[in-house]
Each structure stands twice: as structure tokens, then as C-alpha cells.
Amino acid sequence: MTLAELAELDWTRLIRGFAEAATLAEAAAGPAQAMIESPGSAGARSNADALRSMVDRMLVRAARDGAQVLAWAGKRLELRRVTMGAGSRGRARFVERAELATVPAEVPAALAQIHRAFADDADRAPALVAMFLEMGRRAEALVDQLELAGQATPALAPAARALARTLPRARLMPFKPRVRSIADFDRMRATGYVDGEPGRVVQVARAGLVWHGNVLRKADVIVSEASP
């Protein structure tokens, strides 16, 4: 399995996590705790609704970004993997709401900088891996955001916990302290370096899998790999 294939798989799991969190947020009910009101808001109840809508928009946007990048890389999101299993109806509603089946095959604005960094490459796999790692960082930030929302509306806390649970399922968490960036990815996974020119070969390992990767200067990311 290549890293790009792994990223594709993990990204699908992450999107499923977004859908799960959104389903829980949608189901959340009950009064909001005291919260500083935004101008124009009308009371705690409408605040709670506003918060739920905000959380939903954040999750929809994250999921659409992921689906867009996969489509851009020529790897359409397998919707079946997102919806199958218990609670499929809620996730299916999310898929429909986010219009994941029809996302354009283009890089979202949030990842445009990474796209530019790989502009010279014909191969989109390295960019996909880099964007996935950036999305992992953003997913962690999103958990943080959902936890904050949960402080204002406790009913939203389960959504935050659900998304947090998704991170290890998306295989981001084993690389603690945290996968924050591409360089971390390089550093945390590489178990041994072989001296050489830039473009050096590294041995990459994680539970049950070992690759040899080629680290390029441009993004210090593993761009090609073959199982030993």
C-alpha cells in the first residue's frame, strides 16, 4: 500500500468522523448555558440553535474540503464507506446536506498554499499526502472548536468526543505528540535515515507496515515508496 492510498483511506475515515459528529450535533437538544450573545441574537435558545448550525457548517466545510481534494487527486470519495454501519441514516443526511457526491474536483481555498507548493509536480499523490496531513492538523483544531462549543451547549459535547475518537481511527493519533505538519510526519514516522543527497531514502515504519520512502526537498514529504 502506498502512502497516498493510505491517506485516501484515512481521509475517508476522517470524513466519516465529521459525519458522525454532525449527526450527534444535529440530534443535540436542550437549553444553552449562559453565553455572551452576538449582536442580533435573541436569547439562549436561539443561541443553541445558532451554535448547532455553526458546528454543522464547520463539519460540512471540512468534509467537503476532503472530498474535493480526493476528487482532485482522482480518487472519488467512496460514500458507502461513510454511510455504512450503525447510524447510517444520520450520516446519509450529512452526505446529502454537504453534497459530497457532487463536489468539484478542485483544491479548496484552505489548501491552496499546499497546492502551490506542489505546483511543479505532475504526480498529485505527494500533494494529497501533504494536504491530508494539513487536514489532520485542522481536524485537531476542529475538535478543539467543538469542545468550546460544548462548553456553551453541553449537548454538543458528544459531537466533540465523537470527532476526537475519529482521529485515532484516521490513524493520526499514534504519532503523538501530534501530527501537526508534514515535517512532523517525516520525523515521527521515519525510523532510520540513510545518508545521501536531498532525496534521501528513509525507512518508514508504523505498526505492521514498513516502507522505504524518498524524501524530497520541496516538501520534505515521502513521495514514492515501495514495500521492502
Partner: protein, 673 residues
């Protein structure tokens, strides 16, 4: 083993590049991004640099994180730029410590100089390179803005040396950018059959500053001949537009909370970047409140149209600076062959549109990533230089061997020494190719029985020395008093990095040899002690005297300029009649603003006609004749004739100044103050 890198040590972000084969390549940082935020945090007795420090900005206690350190490097406390920059940061800036020459930045109570903090950023970059490539960089070319003075360049070089690097060259940013683009320029120009010589405008809109430079590229050489811009215009200003919009969505009572602002700063920056590619951006964000209470919810949408509209004043300001530089260079838009877009903010669609509208879209070149191209050019330059023995300038490699165009650096502004009458005598003219040959300039002592000679060096275009950027002072203490008109021989040259070297001989006795002007410690005494905290601003000291002197000198013609007379007399009266220190300071500041704004041309000519001394007797006679006639006309209430005489006087004084700039010099007076 030698390993050379190029570093763009930026105000907001720093970038490092190296030569990968024959092409320059940017090296990602340990944090996985192409640039290192130029941010430093002092926490737990250690300095944290880069992205970690920037990420901590939101929650770090005030006064523990430093950013925009570049604004303070090599500058003195009374510098106007320092005063303005102080308003942009929340950490403490103090005057140099006794015996020191650098400002002091206090982080969590611990003093650091801007050089030390810059060195820390460079160390972080070097460590990142070493960890990524498993090879420690030994030498570097470090870039600085084109307007940096000798003192600032020297301070940057010192920072590089403190970081353990051999500094091959201090390269100005526009030249570096041209060099980065130049690699492709050569190839494309051949195919396009364009002329070899061309004029290129570098439009560098960085994080905190905006620089415009006009470069002549000819036969593989670059000559920079006009610079301009705005030290206080950059990407941060565009971020602040978005930030203000986001803050306006929040309750009034939290809009000034530093923690809330810090959380939104990143959002504002991300939004600005995203608006370069998207028509609108939806923002949903929960914010921590300072008291740890319920979070704030922010939900809004920002469109590119709104952003373009809101940022129009900034874009217009930038375009005005471009027009100013073209006017100063006496160039029309059609004489610019290419415009190189440099700096992260040069990608903003509103900016690209405005530049394209001014020059034509076909001339605007934004092929390279604006944030990275300066570092790429620095790496190219590093590849062209070979380290020499310690203390010696780097050796230029053969162009063919170096694999690229040779860059010739020129002085962006004249450098001179202050004369007895306060005017600047130019030692090195603007546009002189570096390194310069040592050249002898002869002056003489201005007073009888002088026991010391104080040389004050400045850089800039203004006739009065004090209106230029102060580089440094050199004080020569004499063992015995010398008579008036004793010859003072100054041999002055600039090395490849634009760092001044001088020797001074008085009465044929060599008293100072090959001293670097940025490092010369006055030989008489230690620097003056730091003023007590409540001491008045030193730059305000002489405001009252200067206003009074101008009114006094110009008294014979003042009645013909009633508005000027009344305004300035009122300002002087306000200073003289102020009863408490706060009122006085306010009046002095108002007076200083008037002085900084400059005098009307006729008043300026009349005043300077009295206070400056022309280098030749003939020129001095001409000045005095015009003054006499102007006085007579004023007395006879013949205003048109007076105007005519003052116009001619103005031309005469400007002529004297122009001849001084071009190196013509008479016997000057070097003064002890």
C-alpha cells in the same frame, strides 16, 4: 566542508534556500512550512522561535513574545521609525544600555538586543537546515531591505556571525528577487529576442513593509538606482482590515481584549490568503474568552469584493509610492520592461490588478512565489561567492563557474559627514558601485584650539545632515589642541556589503586606520548614559530652538508670508507658555511635526541661504547677492521681485547641493559640538 545557504531574514517571516544542483530550492522548516515566522518567545528561561512562538502568541503573557524585531535592528532610540514601530508591538523597547550601541528589547524582564534575537532566529533556521539535510550550513548570504543603512546591515551581519554563520554577503532584497527571477529571465529573453538591457521594477509588499526598487539589468548585471516605499505598509495592514471586520462582529466589551485579538489574527491572515483564490469565505469560529467563561461564537462571511473595496486605500497608497519612485527616477511607465512581484501580499488580487493596470498585465511577473523568491535569489548569490579568510570579504566566483548572472550592488543613497554648518558633505554618491575604492576627502578643523574632532556620518538625500539617517559617530581625541584650519583627511570606502571603512589623519598624522564605521567606539568617552525613564524625548530638545531660529533668521521676509508667520509664532508661543510638562511635550511634538513637514520653498531658501556655507567663494557670493536683493525687495514691499530673488536663491542652493552630491567638494569644516 562548505555548505552555503541564502536567508531572507524577514520582518514577519524568514525563508531559507540552498542550491540543489544548479537551481535554488527553498527548504521547509522543521514545522513543515516554507517559512519560519520571525517570532521569538522567552519562556521558562529559554527562547522559543518560529511557528511555536507564533502559535503561542494568543495565550502567552504580554511582554514575553517579540515580533517585527527587524524594525529595530541597527536603529537608535530617537529614530522616527523606532517611535512608530514601538506602537505596533506590545513588548518593551528601551534605549541602549550604558556602553551598548543597540536598543534593548525586554522579554519577561530579560534584556535582549535586536541583534541577539535576530541571531536566535538564524540559529533556529540553521538548526532546521541541519536536521533536514543532515549537513550544517557554514556560510550564508543574508538579505536586507534596500533602504537599510550601513549600521543596520552591519547589525544584520553581526546577527549572522552570532548564529555561527560565515556571512558571505549582505544582499539587498530587490537584487535578490531579480536574481531569482533572473535565472529564468536570461533564458526567456533569448527566446523572445528582447534587448539585453532592461529596467525592472521590483514591487515588494511583505508582511510589514513595502519596498519599490528600480533595477537596471544589463549584460548579466544588476544596478539598482532608485528605491522608495513605505516602512509601515504591508500584509499586516491587509490582515488588520479583515481583523477589524471580524472584531466588529463581536460584543464591544471584548473587542480590545488582546487574547481575543490574538485568536482572530490567524483567522484574519488565513482569510486574506484564501480570498486570493476564493470569491467568498465563510468564517465560523469559537473564541476563548479572557476570563475563561463561556466562549464567543463568531459567524460571518467575507467576500472578495468587500475585501477589495476595503483595502483600496492601502492599494492606492502603495501605487502612489510606485508613482513617486518612477517620478524620482524620471522614468515613464513605458520605460519599465518588467515588474517583479515579491512578498506574500503581492499575490492579493487587488494588488495584482492595480499593478497590471498601471504597467500592463504583460509586464507583471508573478511566476515565482513572492514569499520565497528573495531567499531563492540569496541562495543563488551564495553560490556565486566563495568564503575568504576571516575578516576578508568573500571572493567572487567566475560567472560561468557560478552558473548565473553577476550582481553588482550600488549604494542606494548618498553617505556623508556632517559639516560645521549642519549640512551634509557627501563622501559616497548615490549609485556608486560596491565595493568602492578608498578615496581621500580633505576637510579642516572649524575652530581654534580644537582638542577633538567629532565625525557624524549620515545616509540620505537631505541637505541638512540631521534630516538623514544617522549611521554612527567617530570621535578622535587629540593629544594637544590644534589651530583652526588644520587639515583633516578622511579616507572612506565601502566594502562589498556596503559596510563603511575609514581612516582619519589629522595634520598628516594617522590617528585611525581601517576602522569599520559601524563598530567604532568613540575613543574619548563611553556613550552617554541612558536617560532616566521620565526624561524628555531627546529629539524634542531642540524643537523650540529650531523654530525660534527659523523665525529669527527669516524675520525680514516673514510679513510677506502671514500664514506661515502666524502659524509658527503660535506654535512657538505654545511651547514657551506651556505651564506643565505634559502641555509642553504636546506643544513640542506639534512643533516637531511642523519641522518634519518642512518649510515652504521660499522660506527654506532664505533660511538655508543664511545658515549654509557654499563650498566655493563664487557660489557663496551668488547666494549672498540673492539674499541681499530679496531683503531689499521685502523692505520695499515689492513681493514679486522678492519671490523672483528667492526662486533664484532656491536654484542656487539646490545647485550647490547637487554638486556636493556628485562629489565636488570645497574645504569643509569638521566640527566639535
Amino acid at each position: 566542508m562548505t555548505f552555503k545557504i541564502g536567508i531572507d531574514l524577514g520582518t514577519t517571516n524568514s525563508v531559507v534556500a540552498y542550491m540543489k544542483g544548479k537551481r535554488p530550492a527553498v527548504l521547509r522548516t522543521l514545522e513543515g512550512i516554507d517559512w519560519t515566522p520571525s517570532v521569538i518567545q522567552y519562556v521558562g528561561g529559554k527562547l522559543v522561535v518560529g511557528k511555536r512562538a507564533r502559535d503561542n502568541l494568543a495565550e502567552a503573557p504580554q511582554g514575553t513574545v517579540a515580533w517585527s524585531v527587524k524594525r529595530f535592528i541597527g536603529r537608535m532610540p530617537n529614530d522616527d521609525n523606532v517611535k512608530r514601530a514601538k506602537q505596533l508591538v506590545s513588548y518593551t523597547i528601551e534605549p541602549p544600555a550604558p556602553g551598548g550601541e543597540e536598543l534593548v528589547i525586554r522579554l519577561a524582564g530579560k534584556p535582549f538586543t535586536p541583534v541577539e534575537l535576530s541571531a536566535e532566529i538564524l540559529r533556529h533556521i540553521v538548526a532546521g537546515v541541519e536536521r533536514s539535510l543532515r549537513q550544517r550550513p557554514t556560510h550564508a548570504v543574508i538579505t536586507v531591505p534596500a533602504y537599510f543603512t550601513e549600521r543596520q546591515k552591519a547589525a544584520t551581519q553581526k546577527a549572522g556571525e552570532l548564529a555561527g554563520l560565515g556571512v558571505l554577503a549582505i544582499l539587498d532584497e530587490p537584487t535578490a528577487a531579480a536574481l531569482a527571477y533572473g535565472l529564468d529571465l536570461d533564458a526567456s529573453s533569448e527566446s523572445a529576442g528582447e534587448p539585453a538591457g532592461r529596467t525592472v521594477l521590483v514591487f515588494d509588499l511583505g508582511g510589514g513593509t513595502f519596498d519599490v526598487s528600480v533595477l537596471m539589468l544589463s549584460s548579466g548585471q544588476s544596478l539598482q538606482f532608485r528605491i522608495g516605499g513605505d516602512n509601515f505598509l504591508g500584509g499586516d495592514d491587509f490582515d488588520n482590515i479583515v481583523l477589524a471586520r471580524l472584531l466588529a462582529e463581536l460584543p464591544v466589551e471584548v473587542r480590545r481584549e488582546p487574547a481575543v485579538i490574538a485568536q482572530l489574527k490567524t483567522v484574519a491572515e488565513d482569510t486574506k490568503i484564501a480570498l486570493s483564490t476564493a470569491d467568498s469565505i465563510a468564517i465560523d469560529k469559537f473564541l476563548r474568552t479572557p476570563d475563561g467563561g463561556a466562549p464567543l461564537a463568531l459567524s460571518t462571511e467575507i467576500t472578495r469584493d468587500w475585501f477589495q473595496q476595503a483595502s483600496r486605500p492601502l492599494v492606492e497608497r502603495a501605487m502612489q509610492r510606485v508613482e513617486d519612485v518612477l517620478a524620482e527616477a524620471k522614468l515613464g511607465r513605458d520605460q519599465i520592461h518588467r515588474v517583479l512581484m515579491v512578498g506574500g501580499s503581492s499575490r492579493l488580487p487587488a494588488v495584482v490588478d492595480a499593478v497590471s493596470a498601471l504597467f500592463g498585465a504583460g509586464k507583471v511577473d508573478a511566476d515565482l512565489d513572492g514569499m520565497l523568491c528573495v531567499a531563492l535569489g540569496a541562495a543563488v548569490r551564495a553560490s556565486q561567492l566563495e568564503p575568504a579568510a576571516p575578516g576578508k570579504p568573500a571572493v567572487e566566483r567566475e560567472p560561468a563557474e557560478a552558473g548565473g548572472a553577476v550582481i553588482v550592488t550600488v549604494t542606494p543613497r548618498p553617505i556623508g559627514v556632517e559639516l560645521h554648518d549642519g549640512t551634509l558633505s557627501v563622501l559616497i554618491a548615490e549609485g556608486t558601485v560596491l565595493p568602492t575604492e578608498p578615496r581621500l576627502h580633505t576637510y579642516s578643523t572649524a575652530r581654534a584650539n580644537q582638542t577633538e574632532v567629532r565625525l557624524r556620518f549620515y545616509e540620505g538625500h537631505q541637505p541638512l545632515a540631521r534630516h538623514n539617517d544617522h549611521i554612527n559617530d567617530v570621535v578622535i581625541t587629540l593629544t594637544k589642541p590644534v589651530p583652526k584650519n588644520t587639515p583633516v583627511d578622511i579616507t572612506f570606502n565601502l566594502d562589498r556589503n556596503g559596510i563603511a571603512v575609514l581612516s582619519v589623519a589629522i595634520a598628516d598624522k594617522l590617528l585611525l586606520k581601517d576602522a569599520r564605521i559601524d563598530r567604532v567606539i568613540p575613543s574619548d568617552q563611553l556613550p552617554p548614559p541612558a536617560p532616566p525613564p521620565d526624561a524628555p524625548d531627546p529629539s524634542l530638545d531642540d524643537v523650540q530652538y529650531r523654530i525660534s531660529r527659523i523665525l529669527d533668521v527669516c524675520k525680514p521676509i516673514l510679513d510677506h508670508y502671514p500664514t506661515f508667520r502666524d502659524t509658527w509664532r503660535t506654535a512657538l508661543a505654545a511651547i514657551e507658555n506651556a505651564r506643565d510638562p505634559a502641555t509642553k511635550r504636546s506643544a513640542l511634538e506639534a512643533g516637531k511635526r511642523m519641522l518634519d513637514a518642512g518649510l515652504p520653498p521660499h522660506i527654506w531658501a532664505y533660511y538655508n541661504g543664511h545658515v549654509m556655507k557654499a563650498p566655493s567663494a563664487e557660489e557663496q557670493r551668488a547666494i549672498e547677492t540673492h539674499l541681499k536683493r530679496a531683503n531689499e525687495a521685502a523692505k520695499a514691499h515689492d513681493t514679486p521681485r522678492m519671490h523672483s530673488e528667492l526662486d533664484q536663491l532656491n536654484g542656487e542652493i539646490q545647485g550647490v547641493w547637487d554638486r556636493r552630491q556628485s562629489g565636488t567638494k570645497g574645504p569643509g569644516g569638521i566640527v566639535e559640538r
